[in-house]
Symmetry: C2
DNA sequence: ACAACATATGCCGGTCGCCGATATATATAG
DNA sequence: CTATATATATCGGCGACCGGCATATGTTGT
C-alpha cells in the first residue's frame, strides 16, 4: 500500500462517499454533479478503483440490494478512508494556497503587456 | 495534449515556477520546502516532467548559465502554463471545499462512538 | 590524498492508475 | 423492437511517476 498522493478520480470517489453510502453507478452520477459535468468517470476507472480501495481498506461494501430488478452494491467510506480523505484535502489546501500566493507574488519574466504592474 | 487533471508532482513543479524562474535541481529543493519535506521529487520524475512540459509549451527554457563550474538550465513558467495552473488550483479548491462539506455533513454509517452527534 | 557529500543533468525499465472498448442483463420509452 | 438508462464487470494499452544508474564538478572532512 503506497502512500502516494491520490489521483483525482480516486479523490472524487472518496469525496462522493463522504456524506453517505452509494452504489457504483450512483457514484458516476454523483461525481458528474460534484464536478458540474466536467468529470465523467468511466466504468473502467470506477470498478478498478473500487476494487483497489476495497483491498486497501479505504472503503467497504455496506450492503447489496435489488432495486427494480437491478442488482446494486452499496459502498461506504471506511474509517481509514475517512482519515486519508481528510489528510488529502488538508494537504491539497496548502498546495493550492501556496500556488495562489506564488502566482500573486510573481516576479514577472514573461512577455507582459505594457502598463502591467512592475 | 490531453487536458487530464495534473498529477501532484507536475502541479508542484508549476507551483514552484509560479513566482520566479528556477533550474532543475533548485526545483527539487523548492518543492521539498513547499511540501515541508513531504515530497522529495526524484530526478527521473523531474527531468521527464520538464521535457513533457516543455513540449506542451507550459514552461520554457529561460536561459542557460554556469555557476561555480556547473551548468544550469533555468526554466520559466510560460503563459499557457500560468493559465493551466490557475485553472487547476481553482478546480482543486472546489473539490477540496466539496470534500470538506461532505465530511461535515456526513450521515454517519460507520461504527461511531456512543454520544457522537446524530 | 582520499572519501564523502552536495550540486547538477540525464536515461531507462518497471509499476500502477486511468481510459476506451467491450460484454452482459434488466426496465422503460418511443 | 429498438434505443436509452440503469447497473456491473473485464481487458489491453497508455502515460506519469519512481527507483536506480550514470556522469561530472565543487566542497568538506579525515
Amino acid at each position: 500500500m503506497s502512500d502516494r498522493p491520490l489521483q483525482e478520480p480516486t479523490l472524487l470517489l472518496l469525496t462522493a462517499l463522504a456524506d453517505e453510502p452509494r452504489h457504483g453507478y450512483g457514484l458516476i452520477q454523483e461525481i458528474d454533479a460534484i464536478s458540474r459535468g466536467r468529470v465523467r468517470m468511466r466504468t473502467g476507472t470506477l470498478y478498478g478503483a473500487l476494487d483497489r480501495l476495497l483491498q486497501q481498506g479505504l472503503i467497504r461494501v455496506e450492503r447489496e440490494e435489488v432495486v427494480d430488478g437491478r442488482a446494486r452494491k452499496v459502498y461506504a467510506l471506511a474509517e481509514p478512508g475517512r482519515s486519508v480523505l481528510a489528510a488529502e484535502t488538508e494537504r491539497l489546501r496548502t498546495v493550492v494556497a501556496e500556488a495562489e500566493r506564488r502566482m500573486a507574488a510573481r516576479r514577472a519574466t514573461a512577455t507582459r503587456p505594457k502598463g502591467a504592474l512592475a
